[in-house]
């Protein structure tokens, strides 16, 4: 019988993409050497486009100069997955956890991340589902509400999931989201109806974390307010 599973949740507010990336690299390194326990960052980014390891630049439909002009950044990462957009009003979770300690592989991990977002959507009466083979992510009909892109190194995860609460969906027109053409992107606000008022985003971020900890079986959860943390992990 396994003991209680512990995780520390860092509530970070709005964080620049590169700063969050550097912080994840440090935390992942510390997790590999057992200096820290499982940790997850809960945050959002300013307008940012990212590509995965396969560098599918053909799925970014505008030049980097044009992206800059609209106030967005473009970053190349080592995560799986294709082109995506992150921005305000999108809830992001970056779990830095040891899959070896919980005995699961990439496939099960990603399924659990999908289930996390499906559960969150269901709290608002939105019926979401996991994608078909080759369309990893969370969908409402043919509309994508949640994206996943993960990196696993020595069994430790980084990057994670992004759930659309109410981001500006026009940004997604500048990419082929996740490399899947002819499918829309949606948001929780759009699915519950534009006239329906959602709770504050802080509440929704916390609900996302609660769904995550429930699905992954964490029983000992510590919340840390890290809104002033720098990329090397210091406050």
């Amino acid at each position: 019988m396994r003991g209680p599973r512990s995780i520390e949740i860092w509530k970070m507010g709005a964080v620049n993409y590169l700063e969050a990336l550097k912080l994840q690299e440090k935390l992942a390194s510390d997790r590999k050497t057992h200096k820290i326990k499982d940790t997850s960052l809960s945050l959002q980014h300013p307008p940012t486009f990212t590509l995965g390891k396969r560098r599918t630049v053909h799925n970014v439909l505008v030049s980097e100069a044009e992206l800059k002009a609209m106030g967005a950044e473009l970053h190349y990462t080592e995560r799986g997955g294709d082109a995506t957009f992150h921005g305000p009003h999108q809830a992001i979770l970056y779990p830095i956890i040891s899959l070896r300690d919980i005995g699961i592989g990439a496939r099960k991990y990603v399924e659990n991340l999908e289930s996390t977002m499906i559960e969150l959507a269901s709290l608002y009466g939105v019926k979401a589902r996991a994608g078909e083979t080759g369309e990893t992510g969370v969908w409402v009909g043919r509309r994508k509400i949640g994206a996943i892109g993960v990196r696993i190194s020595s069994g430790v995860t980084s990057h994670g999931l992004a759930f659309n609460i109410d981001p500006d969906l026009n940004y997604f027109k500048h990419i082929v989201p996740c490399g899947i053409p002819d499918k829309e992107v949606t948001s929780l606000q759009k699915e519950v109806g534009l006239g329906q008022k959602l709770p504050s985003e802080q509440v929704i971020h916390e609900q996302l974390v609660s769904c995550f900890t429930k699905i992954f079986g964490y029983t000992d959860i510590t919340w840390r307010d890290k809104t002033s943390v720098s990329s090397d992990g210091h406050e």
Binding site: G80, S154, C178
Partner: protein, 177 residues
């Protein structure tokens, strides 16, 4: 227990799907016995084939022949990864170190580092994986090999697991879920 696990690996290796029919009629019985007989022969062959492999706790296998080693990921690893859509290969001539990453595979929107069980120099990479990354899933021990390495020395090998120890390791890891 060990036989059934090896039989599973045999089926995976050969991509055999042996139908298991009930003994409904007299004419079915000889066919079922024949299928089982062929299956056991295949399992014994694979047992012999795979017993020369050594395993790392990060689920890579290595076959050493003299100063040369072939490296890939195990059936357990490919099963836990899901369908592989991309394999990042190292450059030929680059150095690899035991326990360190030399490349990655992507599946289900996740990139997973692949670590080398041995130290040495990469002398060949499996270029077929660029067009057919799924070979890692369908033939993890044969056509899905990833790199060939010229060994520095054989001092890494005692640190690796033999087949029985690796099987137990996988069972313990899966049980912790």
């Amino acid at each position: 227990m060990a036989t059934s696990l090896w039989a599973t690996r045999a089926a995976s290796f050969l991509r055999i799907n042996v139908p298991c029919r009930g003994f409904a009629t007299g004419s079915d019985v000889p066919i079922c016995y024949l299928a089982l007989y062929c299956y056991e022969i295949a399992a014994a062959f694979i047992d012999w084939f795979l017993k020369d492999l050594k395993y790392a706790d990060s689920h890579e296998w290595v076959r050493v022949e003299g100063k040369s080693a072939t490296v890939g990921i195990t059936d357990h690893a490919q099963d836990h990864l899901g369908e592989v859509v991309y394999v990042e290969l190292p450059e030929e001539g680059s150095k690899v170190e035991r326990g360190a990453s030399f490349g990655a595979v992507e599946s289900v929107k996740a990139t997973s580092d692949v670590n080398s069980p041995v130290s040495g120099k990469v002398v060949e990479v499996n270029t077929k994986l660029s067009d057919s990354p799924g070979l890692v899933n369908t033939s993890p021990y044969k056509d899905g090999w990833i790199i060939k390495v010229e060994l520095e020395d054989d001092s890494d090998l005692p640190c690796l697991m033999d087949p029985e120890r690796y099987t137990k390791f996988c069972e313990e890891e899966d049980a912790s879920h």
